[in-house]
């Protein structure tokens, strides 16, 4: 027994192509998020071209953006970051109820956000082809909405696994990595909301 434990003891640098500071799944998510930032940057370039380079009015004349509804939606999405943080803090302390309740709350808040955004598209009164501003509006919010959808898929998997008894105070990387992604989605929305609706 003791010999087996000694055999597994590892000294020196980590194995090849592995970091001793960051877990491989976390590093993968980090690199993925960096590529995502570049994709959003490309879409923001179109936005800034319209507003800064060509000095076009924002939004397009005759159109109006529902800042208040989107503001409430922002609060909903930010709340979902709080609940997923609570879920992770709970499992770190071994609190399975907090994990499950936090994940369900996060999923429902994310779903509410996406539903409100779809409802906004239905009632907003302009289409992507109507003006350059409309194209940029649908592109930025739609790109973000797609990320919310992917995030919801990941959250659903984490929630199901949580109810099946997965995760423990020692092993919860499977929910920590989607949690990092979810916070990234929220950060991007704060920036999208501010630039598209507020400023």
């Amino acid at each position: 027994m003791e010999a087996a434990a000694v055999a597994h003891e590892h000294h020196g640098p980590p194995p090849a192509h592995r970091s001793s500071r960051v877990e491989a799944p976390t590093l993968g998510m980090l690199l993925f998020i960096m590529s995502e930032v570049m994709i959003f940057g490309a879409f923001f370039t179109a936005y800034f071209f319209i507003r800064v380079v060509s000095h076009d009015p924002w939004p397009a004349p005759g159109t109006k953006l529902p800042e208040a509804v989107a503001g409430v939606n922002t609060a909903i999405l930010l709340s979902s970051s709080l609940t997923i943080h609570w879920a992770l803090s709970s499992i770190r302390r071994g609190n399975r109820f907090g994990l499950k309740a936090g994940m369900i709350a996060t999923f429902l808040l994310g779903l509410t956000f996406l539903s409100i955004q779809i409802n906004e598209y239905i009632h907003i009164g302009f289409a992507p082809q109507d003006a350059a501003q409309a194209t940029v509006f649908y592109s930025l919010t739609g790109l973000h909405g797609a990320h919310v959808f992917i995030g919801l898929c990941a959250l659903a998997i984490v929630t199901i696994r949580a109810f099946r008894g997965h995760y423990s105070p020692e092993h919860h990387l499977g929910m920590e990595v989607p949690g990092i992604y979810w916070h990234f989605v929220d950060i991007m929305w704060v920036i999208v909301y501010t630039t598209v609706y507020v400023l």
Partner: protein, 37 residues
């Protein structure tokens, strides 16, 4: 341990809080300048 924004969920959450605070400050400054000018 040194602060790394994306090493863990807790650090990513802190980044989110920082972003919200910074963006709120930027919006407040822009609105103030608009109101004054």
């Amino acid at each position: 341990m040194a602060f790394n924004p994306l090493r863990s969920e807790a650090d990513a959450f802190r980044v989110l809080v920082y972003v919200v605070v910074v963006v709120a400050l930027i919006v407040a400054i822009v609105e103030l300048v608009r109101a004054v000018s």
